[in-house]
Homo-oligomer: 456 residues x 2
């Protein structure tokens, strides 16, 4: 059975590519949704991707690139001829240009910038100076502005004259500047509608407008959009000159992406998206960078077991429970990590409140430790008929659950406070410590009760 | 040292609350950012939260509630008097009303709806019928529409007359309906600006407009916003009647929230946000619902070890490596899970492509299994001086890494295909299977080579 939806676009694209049919390819791609386009591009071979983008005119190719996930777009652009890539990037909106250029290898980026339209390139060079997680790194430089000395009539005429160009501008506000270019305020289309055509903008401009500094962080701008119902916010520099417009969309998408990358990090995918269309060695190397740290930490943690070989050889049954204690403590601790990460991002907790979080975790840890301890203790008792074995493994898991939620709850706050990425480091720190303590508890309890445990 | 930023708003709020100073409290809250407000509310006691919301007039209280994370807002509203809660919810925008009402206990929701302004309640009852992850569940019902028979002059006059009311409407388009209420198209303010005042809307309406069906899924609407540069999309019912407006903001926020909940699920926090201000027993119960399933799966997996007690008692050293093999296989498998989940959400892979993903994972698994196997094998050899022990644990981890990435890569696709939540189920399925196979491999290899391993 062939999935019509899946197969058709790719085959259609291939046929149009082979026949070099630019017109039909262009109109075909216009009928394809964003999701279909992403899928289509990821299923074409590298040379087909290149053919497609060079067959289209640069404006349409820019549209295709803009729809793709960053990792995929970067992959494709890096394989292109510099001139082709530059022609396409020339046609993109400033925010998308900057996103892309910043993720390219420096050499590729420089080559493309050199090849681009000089005025576009100059603007872009300024944009990529900003940290991508600041207002400057997220803003658009396409906006409509007039000096306060302009009249309503002049503005309306200019809007009509340039309607073709402004069609692609996303923000429908008009920004009003002083004679020196200092940002004064905004006007909406309906303000022009209601005004007398002979009025100067200075007479009708809405001045009480929030603007944001170019270096404001993603969290600050996100907060501003949460607090106010803006569509876009003007971005100003140290001298209050207007240098760009920040849209809610860009902020929400950046927040979204940051959360996605953090999530990947907690599961050991470091350095942004891995797409399975990337080269095997790259994927393998990036995953190993995380795994090799973890295996070292694992060996360190498990070495605790080595100190108790005598106990283990007397109570072989413990070997069954050590992986359970390790895994369950990891589960409990990871729950606490997840809640802390989420509370940090919601703003209901601050990095300095470790003590508060610790208290809140201990209470849950006590209950859950008790329940889990009883469950595992019962399993041990039922299996071997020894209440002592039950006490040893149940007691160890109960106590280690409290340890795990304490560490899991507080470590992300601590890491955030000392500016270490909590998404990346919380998990390994948590599991290493809880493994060591869990193994130590179970094996030392068993050593104490060894007289009652022999031969299990 | 007191963190001024942290402490001041809470103390100020408390002082204003104690003095019952509505005017100053209202203007104080206007100076507070969204983030500060969330933090402030989460640090006030329950009775202080109630006092604050009832002291404010309902419109301002509605603003406060709208700024809070859903879980926090629900918590606070459920504790309120029904009349107070209804008065506040009355003042909220329709999309926020529906979000909140849907998360309340059914009894509380019904009580509040009964108490609300009947026309608001009737609209709201319709809204909460829609699945929250559809266009209907995400749309706003506040929009500006006119019949096609209206003239530009009439519309401009109505806009001026109702400017106070429309100020709170988020979408600046004007929607044009047929005489029967069927959706025809849109107009922007500038279209009115450029039109002759005596023209009828039917003459200038832009008809080639995309509208979306009320039952469209979150993925479909998200795709539509990705494909088109819309700010809002009209939502229509089966009869093409306009019933609401869907904003990009609501869609992006819903996508953000879904991703956040999925992330919490992968780490064992089920059923939405846990805030540490929630009751301890609720938090404990929700976490245990996940942990208790996991401990059962863990016991099942570890029971494999119990079948090899003889081998273990001969080669005690293996007990050190079993937790490492379990944990490292989990790490490798979770990486593959993370990549699959991300590729599913980006649309670069489809749930039917399990075989493709499997091949792509095997190649990475081969390399990483080899590297990890050599590392752990080397550690075993260096510790005990036995090349056979190195071969046993190295071989087991190498093979199990391939198993883990195979399962981790394909299980999310399979679960998605059979409509089981992959964020929730992938992890436990993965670790249970990889633990069983990992333990089996290590212990059966050791059993085969037992002659060379005695006494380690």
């Amino acid at each position: 059975m062939i999935d019509q939806k899946t197969v058709r676009p790719i085959e259609t694209a291939r046929i149009l590519l082979e026949s070099n049919n630019r017109v039909e390819l262009t109109s075909f791609l216009e009928t394809v949704s964003s999701t279909q386009l992403v899928y289509l591009m990821s299923r074409l071979h590298k040379d087909e991707q290149q053919n497609l983008l060079t067959l289209l005119n640069p404006e349409d190719a820019a549209y295709v690139i803009e729809e793709l996930p960053d990792a995929q777009a970067v992959d494709i652009i890096e394989d292109m001829d510099v001139e082709d890539a530059a022609a396409i990037i020339n046609e993109m909106m400033s925010d998308e240009q900057a996103d892309l250029i910043m993720e390219l290898h420096e050499k590729d980026a420089e080559a493309i910038l050199t090849e681009m339209n000089p005025s576009e390139a100059a603007g872009l060079r300024k944009l990529i100076e900003y940290d991508p997680e600041t207002a400057g790194g997220l803003m658009l430089t396409e906006y409509i502005s007039y000096k306060e000395t302009a009249t309503v009539k002049e503005v309306i005429e200019d809007l009509k004259k340039n309607s073709e160009k402004y069609k692609y501008y996303h923000v429908r506000y008009i920004y009003v500047l002083s004679r020196q270019g200092v940002f004064l305020g905004v006007l909406q289309m309906q303000d022009l509608l209601l005004a007398d055509p002979s009025q100067h903008l200075s007479e009708i401009v809405i001045k009480d407008v929030i603007a944001i500094h170019v270096n404001a962080s993603l969290d600050e701008v996100s907060d501003l959009f949460d607090t106010h119902d803006f569509y876009g916010i003007p971005v100003i520099d140290d001298h209050k000159k207007l240098i760009g417009i920040l849209r809610r969309k860009n902020v929400l998408e950046a927040i979204n992406e940051r959360a996605a990358y953090e999530h990947l990090e907690t599961q050991g995918i470091v350095g942004g998206d891995e797409l399975r269309t990337m080269p095997v060695f790259l994927r393998s190397r990036r995953r190993l960078s995380w795994l090799s740290v973890n295996i070292l930490l694992n060996i360190i943690a498990a070495s605790v077991i080595a100190f108790y070989q005598d106990t283990l050889s007397t109570v072989i049954a413990l070997a069954v429970f050590l992986p359970i204690i390790s895994d369950m403590s990891g589960c409990s601790g990871n729950q606490a990590v997840a809640v802390s990460m989420r509370e940090l991002s919601l703003g209901t907790v601050r990095p300095t409140e470790m003590l508060r979080v610790w208290f809140q975790e201990i209470s849950v840890g006590l209950i859950n430790g008790l329940v889990l301890g009883i469950l595992i203790g019962l399993a041990a008792y039922l299996w071997k008929g020894s209440i002592y074995l039950g006490l040893v493994v149940g007691g160890a898991l109960a106590i280690n659950t409290i340890v795990a939620v304490s560490i899991g709850g507080t470590v992300p706050l601590f890491l955030k406070k000392i500016n270490v990425d909590p998404a990346l480091a919380s998990g390994p720190i948590l599991t290493t410590i809880t493994d060591m303590i869990g193994f130590f508890l179970a094996l030392s309890f068993a050593t104490i009760m060894i007289a009652h445990l022999g031969g299990l």
